[in-house]
Every structure is written in C-alpha cells, then in structure tokens.
C-alpha cells in the first residue's frame, strides 16, 4: 500500500464540511503556519520538501515562490490554477469535490508564505458544481475565522475568491489565465516578464496548480524533510494520477512517486489492467500534450529498466524513447485503438484551442489536422507522413506559449513509434475509410 497524504481522509463521511474536516486534523497546518512560523520559514519547508508543480511543468514550487518579487510595495497575488482542461486530466476536480477544505487550507498557508492578501482560484467554467462546493468551503472558512481580517488573532488578512472560466483550454497556461482573470481573451503573454515580477494587474504573482497547493498542507504537517522521504530522488511526495481509457478501473489514484508503471496499470488496487482482457497498445502517461509510448517502451525504458512513475523515469530516453509525467493524465489504449485516429483527434483539439496569436501554432495545427484527417479517411499519401513531421518541427519552439509544443509533440511521437500504422493507412484506403478502430490487430499491422 502506498502512503496517502492528500486523499487519506476522503473516505470519512462529511469530510467536505468544515466541522468534520477540522475534527479530523484539518486546519492544524494552517494554525501552525500562521501562529508559529514566519512566511520565509513556510517557504523553506516547501523548498526542503522538493515539491514540484503538479500542473504539468514540474517546476520546483519552493524555488518559484522565492522568485516572487517581495520588494516592490503594493499587493502581491497568489492565483490557483483549477482550469484542468488537459485531456486525460481530472484530478483537481476530484480533490475539490471530495475534500475542498484541503485546498482552502493549502491556499491559506501558501498565501501567507507569499504575503498575498487576495487570492483567486480560477476554475474552468464547466465545473459549476465544483465551483459551488468550493465556494461553500470558503464561506465556512470565513465563518470560522480562517479567512478575513486578523486570521486566528494574528495580523494576517486574507480574502479568497473563486473565479470561473468559460471554456478555453488555453486559459490553463498561466499567463493566459491571468489575462482571462482580468476579463480578456485568453491570449498568453510574452515572457519575460514572468508573473513573479509582473503578473495579475501587473503585480508580482505566483500561479500554482490545485494539487500543488493542497500538497503544502501535509508538508507543513509532517515537515519538508519528512515529505522529501516519500518518493524517489527529485520526484518527492505523492502524485494524483487520473487514469482513463481502456482500463478496468478508471479513476483518480494517489500514488507515491516511484511506483512502477506496470504495477499501476495492472494492480487491482489501481487501473486493474486493460479492459476486456485485451492487449495493451500504448499509453499517454501525462495528459494529451506528452508523447505517446507503445506498450514495450512505457513498461520498460529502452535500456530495459522498469519504467517508474517519476519525472525522471518517464522522461528517460528523451523524445526518442521517453515521454513525460506532465499533469498525471494516464490514458490507456488497447489493441483495437487506431493511433492515426487518436492523433487526428488530439490535433483537432489543439487546433480548436489555439488562441491564434502566433502563426506557427494557428496555421500549423490546422494544417496538421487537415493532413491527419486525410490520412485517417483513406485519402493520404506517403509524403504526408513526412510532411506532418516537418510541420510539427516548425511549430516546436517557435511560439509564444507551450501550446505549440504540446500540439507538435504528440504528432511527432505517434509517427516515431507507429509509422507502420500511418503507412498502413496510406496503402489500404478502402479498409481505413470507414473505420473508427484500428483497421487490423496490432500484430498483423506490424507484419505489413
């Protein structure tokens, strides 16, 4: 059994209410931080914990906090990213729904550490129910003196507000999120300046993911050093993995970083294996933006070592034979799934979600979508495959925000690992024309 420190109390009936949460050790960390620690001591614990951002990029949280400009007089902001729109990812929704006070407590401690007196939680607009749940938890925290003026009799004041998005994946990108919070289109900003210097309303701002901020609670409870003992190497602590696709037990699981991918996939405690006794074809381990890996490369690295769920192990082999932990959106494909169709689907997603500011992303995603549509519908040519690789290359690294890369990588990876399947589509137009699934079983295709 892996150690659980975020979701351990989720089974307690009524844990979504202030009273039950508090009676089960809740708000002890916030009390400790505000009454016994200084903001820099809190930041120090987070640094020691080795916690890395859970939103996708994996940037060390303590370091991000220490970049915040604390010298310019005037307000500073903490903004919580609950936009959760990376396909395959649904963990933040789970946390907010099941144990909203954990996030509220994490927000209080983190805001205190950053010296922020106003904090916004940007929740994707589709999560109306969760917005209601979180708003209620915040109201309860006010009523019980954990928010508002002079919290717990200290001189610290904090207001937390929930802000809803309105359906735009790009608003998960932190500078697009800030634009959106200011009431504008979600157009990512050119960086630098980084939000730590010029963020919301031009003020120093930290943007962190829901899970990252929730993890601050156990870090203060058990101490940064103790937290760092969970996990392996630079992948410390636990991670929520949202598992979906063709598995027996889709859902959100808290794992200790370092769990082998194979255990996670096959153990009845987690995914419970591929559904219907089918064979595994591929896995996208970190949300739609990270490279897809075929069965052999996701379970073992190219060097033959067990692939573990850590930042390092999942990216072992770089883009040649590795992927990324990303947001922890674990998408499993069985032998019947068509890689070309899935790549077309994801590319359509990125094309739809591109904000349109930079031409490589705006035009490139549309171009790739068109070519993939052609291939998928039996109208492709052999040179289309290389054309895709070349367009993907020209998008990568040439855009304002990483959405361009996120659109390019999955295409490049699909062709790298499943080129034979793209070729099969070109060579068998009649067969692929009207299919939704893989036109022939995996093994046969490899023989083609």
């Amino acid at each position: 059994m892996g150690r659980k420190i975020l979701t351990d109390k989720i089974v307690i009936p009524g844990i979504n209410t202030f009273e039950v949460y508090k009676n089960n050790g809740g708000y002890a960390a916030a009390t400790k931080a505000l009454k016994q620690m200084t903001p820099s001591e809190v930041t120090e614990e987070v640094k020691k914990s080795g916690l890395r951002g859970r939103g996708g990029a994996g940037f060390p949280t303590g370091m991000k906090w220490s970049f915040l400009d604390r010298t310019t007089p005037g307000p500073r902001y903490l903004v919580c990213n609950a936009d959760e729109s990376e396909p395959g990812t649904f963990k933040d929704r789970y946390l907010i729904e099941k144990i909203p006070h954990l996030l509220v407590e994490g927000l209080i401690i983190s805001s205190f550490a950053l010296g922020a007196e106003t904090t916004y939680v940007y929740v994707r607009g589709e999560f109306k129910t969760q917005i209601g749940i979180l708003s209620k938890a915040i109201r309860e925290a006010y009523e019980n003196g954990f928010l508002g003026k002079n919290i717990l009799g200290t001189s610290y004041n904090l207001d937390i507000y929930v802000h809803s998005g309105a359906g735009a994946y790009i608003c998960g990108e932190e500078t697009a999120l800030l634009e959106s919070l200011e009431g504008k289109r979600g157009n990512p900003r050119l960086k630098p300046p980084f939000p730590a210097v010029k963020g919301l309303y031009g003020r120093p701002t930290v943007v962190n993911n829901v899970e990252t901020l929730a993890a601050v609670v156990p870090i203060i409870n058990i101490g940064g050093d103790e937290y760092a003992k969970i996990g392996i190497g630079k992948s410390t602590g636990t991670k929520l993995i949202s598992a979906c696709g063709n598995i027996n037990n889709p859902g959100v699981y808290e794992i200790e970083l370092g769990l082998p991918v194979e255990t996670f996939l096959n153990s009845p405690e987690y995914c419970g294996g591929v559904k219907g006794g089918k064979s595994l074809k591929a896995i996208v381990p970190g949300g739609s933006s990270v490279p897809i890996l075929p069965a052999n490369l996701i379970l073992k690295t190219a060097a033959g070592e067990n692939r573990l769920i850590t930042y390092e192990s999942l990216s072992d082999g770089g883009f040649v034979s590795g992927s990324m932990l990303g947001s922890g959106g674990f998408i499993v494909y069985d032998e019947n799934q068509c890689i070309v169709r899935n790549t077309w689907n994801f590319t359509r997603f990125y094309h739809h979600e591109s904000c349109g500011q930079c031409s490589p992303c705006r035009e490139g995603t549309g171009w790739m979508e068109k070519v993939l549509h052609r291939l998928e519908h039996g109208e492709g040519r052999h040179k289309d495959i290389d054309l895709l690789v070349s367009v993907a290359k020209r998008i990568e690294g040439n855009t304002i925000c990483p959405l361009g890369d996120a659109a390019a990588w999955p295409v490049a990876a699909a062709i790298r690992h499943f080129r034979h399947e793209f070729e099969y589509h070109v060579e068998n137009p009649e067969i692929v024309k009207n299919h939704k699934h893989a036109p022939v079983p995996l093994k046969e295709m490899e023989k083609v």
């Binding site: 959760e84 729109s85 979906c244 899935n342 997603f349």
Partner: protein, 192 residues
Amino acid sequence: MSQNIIPHHLFGKEGKEVRFSAETLEKVNKIISRYPEGQKKSALLPVLHIAQEELGGHLSVDVQDYVASLLGIQPIEVYEVATFYTQYYLEKVGKYVIEVCRTGPCAICGGEDITDYLSEKLNIKDGETTADGLFTLRTVECLGACGYAPVMQINTEFYEFLTKEKIDKAIEELRQKANLDKPKESKWVEKF
C-alpha cells in the same frame, strides 16, 4: 449605454431593453467588489455567465452591450471575450444544451458512437437545435471528466459513463420536466 456602437457584422442588434433584476444586480455588484479598484472588467466572465442564463439563454448583442455598460467598458471588449470562450452562445439555443465530449479519452471509450446516437435520436446535427426548441446538440472538447467517459453535460450538469439507455432516460426526463416548465436548478448567480 454607449451610443457610438460600431455596427456588427457577425450578428445584429435587436434593440431590446434588457436588464438584471435588482436582486441579481446586487449579486453582480458583489462580484465586482472582489476585484481591486479600477479592475471592474475582471468580473466580465462571471457576469456573462449570469447574463446568459438570466437574459435569454444566449448572449445577444443587446445583452453584451448591457454588460459593457454595467462594467464601464467598451462593447468591443465584451464582444471579443464573448466570441473567444466556448461556453458563451452567440445565437439562440434550446432550453437544454447538450454538450457531448469528442476528445480522445472519451472517443476511445465509445464517445463517437454516443455522439452519433444523440444526433440520430434528436434528428439534429452538431450545432443544431430541435424544432421544438428543447435541445441543442454541440460537440465540445474535453470536459475534465475523462475517467467517467463517455461524458456529456446538459446545462452544466454532468452525465457520465454514457450508454444509449442512459441517454434515452435523460432525454425523456428532460422532456417531462420541460412540460412542467419548472425553473432551472443550480443557477450561476447562486454559485458565486
């Protein structure tokens, strides 16, 4: 309200008088107060949600202009936002907007068949509304509920692990409810 509105090429102005109830206005002012002095525009997204729900189900140009005047910003600042985000409807929609997820994780769990089934059952294509004005069908991108695939949302309520039977049941229930013409539950204005 600003008198110098540039004529719109996308959709016309109906010139209808629209306004929030006093109760809703109070709530809107409370939302505005969450943002610093001079940052009223920050309230735009939440206020548009409320406006869409309470002022006719979609954001007509009249409604958008009204929101602009409430927040003290130019109408164009509202138009560019209303056209950017997918949850805002610019044209009239049905009483129930069915948004079915079309993205990868749902698609590989039978989402495509579910979409086809909805389309056949309601006899409308993506983006269309049934003749009786009850249902609009829209395919949308990932709803952040991939583990419960296939997924759809009807007026922001989630329907998960969809099967044809579940769809039949949901549609039937909504048809009944629509006849009774009860007010909508879970209004945006109450969530904030």
